[in-house]
């Protein structure tokens, strides 16, 4: 997808999606003039097939599908270095947030990404137990991703150091946690949150 020739026209430029990103992130995509400062300072850029500046460039060209096809947005660690340093006040970290949210909703190719699966399982655990239950997270992730033996050798070491618990520990105020989750869901329905 990355190297495929780009056909540009009003039909291939997904302007609606760009507007959505702009609305969700509260920042302008068009402001960027491709100086590259975001990519220069990004700690994760070396892992991305589209570095941050190119993500914005693809948005400017309405090439939403190209972003969706890649995993770059999932590598972003939201450190906000890009946002802090951008000369044009483009809030790139928020754009990344918005893109992840839209990608999630789209059920797009990035669904295959284990990053998204890990994110989902992580949040499910928090919702169920009020805190993280690492054993379950690792187990379910390995089963769902089909990599049954992934990182298995780390298990004994973590167990011996007490970093991994065999049984879950439930939070006492689990009802409060549930409240937070339902409120966010409510806000999402109304379009007030990502």
């Amino acid at each position: 997808m990355k190297k495929k020739k780009m056909l540009i026209s009003q039909q291939t430029m997904d302007v609606d999606m760009v507007r959505k990103v702009e609305k969700l992130s509260g920042t302008s995509v068009r402001r960027c003039f491709q100086c590259g400062k975001c990519s220069a300072g990004c700690p994760m850029a070396t892992f991305m097939e589209h570095p941050p500046n190119r993500i914005v460039r693809l948005l400017q060209l309405g090439q939403w599908q190209r972003i969706l096809a890649g995993r770059s947005i999932w590598y972003c660690v939201s450190c906000e270095t890009c946002t802090t340093r951008c000369p044009n006040q483009v809030d790139l970290a928020s754009i990344m947030d918005a893109l992840r949210k839209l990608s999630w909703d789209q059920d797009g190719p990035s669904k295959e990404s284990y990053v998204q699966l890990a994110n989902k399982l992580f949040l499910q655990n928090i919702r169920t137990y009020g805190r993280q239950y690492e054993m379950r997270l690792a187990a379910v992730f390995n089963v769902k991703s089909g990599q049954f033996l992934k990182d298995m050798m780390l298990g004994p070491k973590l167990l011996s150091k007490g970093k991994l618990k065999v049984f879950h520990q439930k939070n006492r105020n689990i009802a409060e946690v549930e409240k937070i989750f339902s409120r966010i869901e409510e806000m999402r329905r109304k379009g007030e949150a990502l």
Binding site: K2, K3, K4, K5, M6, L7, I8, S9, Q10, M13, S28, R30, R31, F33, Q34, N53, R54, R57, L58, Q60, L61, Q63
Partner: protein, 665 residues
């Protein structure tokens, strides 16, 4: 016995880096005739000049040699300084040890040796310099402005407002130039016609301005303060004094299908025409190539319908001679043509952009006519091939410009801004359309320029793609644009309805011929050269001739107007004196020797050599000799080199002096 002072300049580090200036000074002090020698960091600075002045008085110096930069740079400075302490300025000479020595050599020892020899030569030469009186010549306080575009108009108005007479010569039938063709102007988007036409009318009505339209410069004689300019007023076939500008001739003319050059061939005009409705003067011209009367001898409809009887088919070109004191050259530019050029031309056409054969590939000026309210489409953006409104428009910048391959290595300067403006105009007129711009760099320095360019992208939603287009081709009624977006790193393809090329700004064809008539220099692109890129940006190296506008290099309207006013100010400075002082470095004829062969007259580029009769006391003619008019002579020395009897000598560069310099080596 001469007492020569030698002053060695360090020029900061420019000279002292490679030349041992102290050694040069101490060696020079031993030269015969040298009474004093020293060195200083900046000889041209105030303390440096004071040093020279003090030395002249203290050591009773008779001659001065300043070893520093080129005489073009500071000869005047030092001559003025010695004049202030009572020395004749022409007894001060400069030894060029910067451009001729320190800048071009690396070896310190050799460079120092060379500097010593250069100084030695100048010491020998200055010994034989004569005390020369300054030559004064009268100044004709009238100016000639060549070109009636915004540059010429501004310069003419400024000079005329100062109370001097101005003769303006324009090649086309109307003044106005390129600016009259534009729709709106950056960065404020005010209508070009609205700010241009009042100035045109001002010019035509100004009591101090004589306007010659449809005229060209035939010949230029004379020199600063005293030019004689011959102007060819081309036959208009319409009497300017009788014509009322009613326009009935144009409505009745049967030849209606002639492409209108003013509208970039988009519209048509008649054989008798004014270039555009707001033309000044509003007097038509008969295009003799297309007029039926001139082609077949039968027609004459315009003559029949003309009430005042202004049509005159027998009108001939007339030559007018105008005496002027200063000339402002403002001949403007033209756009690079992408159609294939004939073989042998260094500039090749753009095969990859269709050589101009795809009708919907147009240039920026054509787009201006499309967007202009007074244009052939009345301001609607309609593509030339089928008159449909284009929904996808691709703009390509740097077409020709910054291309070594096309022989145009320079940046045309205005294209980034006018393309941004075009995208805005397009967005304002076609709301559901999309503009794309392929660009290599955005060069938008200037007041409010960057903001303007960003506005095109951020608010007017133009899509800018960094990368050049490799090829255009027609596919059905679309034009496929193949380019690349180098910030994403992929190839890009757009099916466009209209493609607008920002073609390079070039000097007018014939700019070189005019320069030769005027005796001014031009660069390899045929842009006219200023005397100094930074400190004399409006003066030509030829005295009395000034530059304004794009004939000197690509310029936008604000820069052009600034330069035109600057040129006008220079002309006014010249006119502020009744007499002009000239450098007396001129040729003299030794009348005893001269045999009157007049070989010197044949080679003189300035027409300075005249005939003079030598008579005895009874009034009998003995012989004819050459006489050099000191007011005209430019001091080039060609006559001296040519004279077979060695009868002509250039002051300061006599044979005796040259031989003395060689012997000093």
């Amino acid at each position: 016995m001469s007492r020569i002072g030698v002053f060695i300049c360090h020029c900061g580090e420019n000279i002292s880096r490679t030349v041992d200036v102290e050694l040069v000074a101490s060696t020079a002090s031993q030269f015969p005739g040298v009474a004093f020698a020293t060195d200083y960091k900046y000889m041209c600075s105030d303390p440096g000049q004071s040093l020279i002045k003090k030395a002249v008085s203290e050591h009773r110096l008779t001659h001065v040699v300043v070893a520093a930069c080129s005489p073009r740079m500071h000869e005047r400075t030092f001559r003025k300084a010695v004049e202030q302490v009572g020395l004749n300025p022409f007894l001060c000479e400069m030894a060029n040890i910067r451009e001729h020595c320190s800048w071009v050599h690396e070896d310190r020892e050799e460079a120092t040796q060379k500097a010593i020899e250069i100084v030695g030569m100048l010491v020998e030469r200055v010994k034989k310099n004569r005390v020369l009186p300054t030559i004064t010549v009268p100044v004709t306080k009238r100016a000639l402005v060549i070109g009636g575009g915004i540059a010429g108009i501004q310069a003419a108005l400024d000079i005329a407002d100062a109370g001097h007479q101005v003769v303006l010569v324009e090649r086309e039938p109307s003044i106005g130039g390129h600016m009259a063709q534009l729709s709106e102007t950056f960065p404020t988007l005010d209508c070009s016609q609205c700010i241009m036409t009042p100035k045109m009318v001002d010019l035509a009505n100004h009591p101090n301005i004589i306007m010659h339209t449809y005229s060209e410069i035939e010949q230029v004689d004379g020199y600063i303060g005293n030019f004689q300019v011959t102007i060819r007023k081309k036959a208009r076939s319409v009497d300017e004094n009788k014509c009322t500008g009613c326009g009935i001739c144009m409505t009745k003319c049967p030849q209606k299908k002639i492409p209108n050059i003013f509208d970039r061939n988009l519209g048509t005009r008649t054989a008798i025409y004014v270039p555009f409705p707001q033309a000044v003067p509003n007097v038509p011209v008969i295009d003799r190539e297309n007029c039926t009367m001139f082609k077949t001898g039968k027609c004459g409809v315009c003559q029949k319908v003309c009430g005042p009887g202004a049509i005159d088919f027998n009108q001939q070109d007339t030559l007018i001679v105008e005496p002027v004191g200063a000339i402002v050259v403002a001949t403007g530019f033209e756009l690079y043509d992408i159609t294939e050029k004939p073989k042998g031309s260094p500039i090749k056409g753009y095969g990859e952009f269709g050589h101009g054969k795809i009708p919907d590939v147009i240039d920026g000026l054509t787009f201006e006519r499309l967007a202009s309210a007074s244009g052939p489409t009345g301001g609607k953006i309609l593509r030339p091939s089928d008159g449909k409104e284009p929904k996808q428009v691709v703009f390509i910048q740097c077409v020709g410009s910054r291309s070594r391959e096309k022989g145009i290595s320079y940046c045309s300067k205005i294209c980034c801004m006018y393309t941004a403006k075009h995208t805005m105009l397009y967005h304002h007129k076609v709301h559901d359309g999309q503009a794309y711009v392929f660009f290599m760099d955005a060069r938008v320095p200037g007041k409010s320029y960057d903001e303007f360019w960003r506005r095109a992208i951020e608010e007017e939603e133009a899509v800018y793609i960094r990368g050049m287009v490799s090829r255009l081709y027609q596919k059905g009624d679309k034009i496929v644009v193949m380019g690349s977006d180098i910030s994403v790193g992929v190839q890009v393809e757009i099916e466009a309805d209209l493609v607008v090329l920002a073609t390079a700004v070039q000097p007018r064809k014939g700019a070189d011929a005019l320069a030769q008539k005027l005796g001014i220099s031009y660069d390899k692109y045929h842009f006219y050269s200023e005397a100094h890129a930074k400190l004399k940006p409006v003066e030509c190296a030829t005295a009395g001739i000034y530059l304004a506008g794009a004939c000197q290099g690509p310029k936008d309207i604000p820069d052009t107007v600034s330069q035109a006013s600057a040129a006008a100010a220079k002309v006014m400075t010249l006119f502020s004196k009744d007499k002009l002082e000239r450098e007396p470095i001129v040729a003299r004829v030794k009348e005893n020797n001269c045999v009157g062969c007049f070989a010197c007259r044949k080679v003189c580029a300035y027409g300075a050599v005249e005939e003079k009769e030598i008579r005895d006391r009874q009034g009998n003619l003995i012989k004819m000799v050459a006489y050099v008019n000191p007011g005209v002579c430019a001091g080039c020395g060609t006559c001296q080199a040519t004279c077979p009897s060695k009868s002509v000598e250039l002051d300061g560069y006599t044979d005796e002096q040259i031989v003395a310099m060689i012997e000093a080596l």
